[in-house]
Symmetry: C2
Subunit: 225 residues, 2 copies
DNA sequence: ACCTGAACACCGTTCAAGT
DNA sequence: ACCTGAACACCGTTCAAGT
């Protein structure tokens, strides 16, 4: 209850990042302000800036933590196809749990644990039989797909407190569309509220992997073209 | 040269959106402030808010314009596969020319001309032979891939004035990576500076389409599973 | 109806001053 | 070295007042 007392334990970058993560998780991306951090950590602005470069740096560090933790437990056994699905899914789950990290990933992709993701996806694609020159494009495409979903996830999370409510709103919007101009969207409105994001994500990954396999199977025979 | 004179022509939502687009294109996303708009349009804050709901609304409208214009000239002849590539490429080009629109697309995907994109991609996939129940997932996956690239594009554009410089920086970063832990990234560093974004984007689209064709070809025979 | 511009409630960041 | 908190330079948005 020493709310007004000076903090006794030393501040550190680690403690700050942890506090930021908690604010982000419980109150959302907009709630993370330097002010909110000083209150929570019972300290001043300068103290924060002594351990952290700026807010952008702080956000990147928090996202890095969350993503790294998610990808850390990746198994190394099992076949490459399954490993790719596992990596993708663990990323999806992490981003669903921490939408702000997804937004950060999409915003500054070169920072954060994206390097590890790139490397691991590349390794598994190579194990799948993708030849070196195609590896770059294939891994990039898969990562971009994941980033797209990450951004999407962050967007819907930002849109409303309850995902179902905002999904219903979009569905209603689609339903109001002119069936003559938007026949498919108009029809898809019915599917929207009951669809499973996770399953749809995985379906996209499988589409990708099927493409990789198809192209590589073909590419092996007409390498000359 | 009537810089201080009161504006004679009437203000309108259209004029405001156009001015905003110009600021965004020439000076970047951060340069669009309400202040900057009042200066450019020689007016006050209230005047702007009389025609536009808020800044978010304004940004969405500007992105809508840019994206709609890009997708407008879509041909309806030629085979569906080619049409899909064309839609994707025109989007890519629009986002490359207006990175801020890409960021907006990734941020608020339900607004803007994304509906038209969804519909047109759905139509072409259907023409390609994708059955109705799979249409939702396939179109979603492709749109998500495009959004991922859009976000990426916006990110690199934001990163530095000259794309080549920031790409070189990333390449240098990859080169510094421990070759034992990041063997593939370390090697890919050489490919990074000379690779063509547009080609890589298209390669990803083709991977997707190959997957769609492969899955559908297979799916037609064992629909029961 | 349309517009003006001072005022408000916030931001992230800095920095002289304390311990 | 580590921390405090007032101050600065910005935001987006509002609103009483003008035409």
């Amino acid at each position: 209850m020493a709310t007004k007392a000076r903090r006794t334990d030393a501040l550190s970058r680690e403690v700050i990042v942890e506090a930021a993560t908690q604010i982000l998780d419980t109150d959302g991306e907009d709630a993370l302000t330097l002010r909110a951090l000083t209150v929570r950590l019972n300290t001043g602005y300068g103290a924060l800036y002594h351990h952290v470069e700026n807010k952008s740096d702080l956000l990147a560090a928090a996202a890095e933590d969350v993503i790294a933790r998610a990808v850390a437990g990746a198994a190394t056994d099992s076949e490459p196809r399954e490993l790719l699905r596992t990596v993708a899914l663990s990323l999806f789950d992490a981003i669903t749990a921490h939408p702000w990290a997804g937004a950060q990933l999409a915003r500054e992709p070169w920072r954060s644990a994206l390097l590890d993701i790139y490397e691991s996806i590349g390794a598994h694609l190579e194990a799948l039989g993708v030849p070196e020159p195609a590896l770059f494009d294939s891994a990039g495409a898969l990562v971009n797909y994941i980033l797209g979903v990450a951004g999407q996830n962050a967007a819907t999370a930002r849109a409303g407190a309850h995902r179902t409510a905002s999904l219903a709103a979009v569905a209603a919007q689609w339903e109001r569309l002119d069936p003559a101009r938007y026949p498919r969207l108009h029809k898809a409105a019915a599917q929207l509220p009951e669809h499973d994001d996770r399953e749809q994500f995985l379906a996209g990954v499988d589409l990708f992997l099927a493409g990789v396999e198809a192209v590589h199977r073909r590419g092996a025979s007409d390498r000359s073209s």
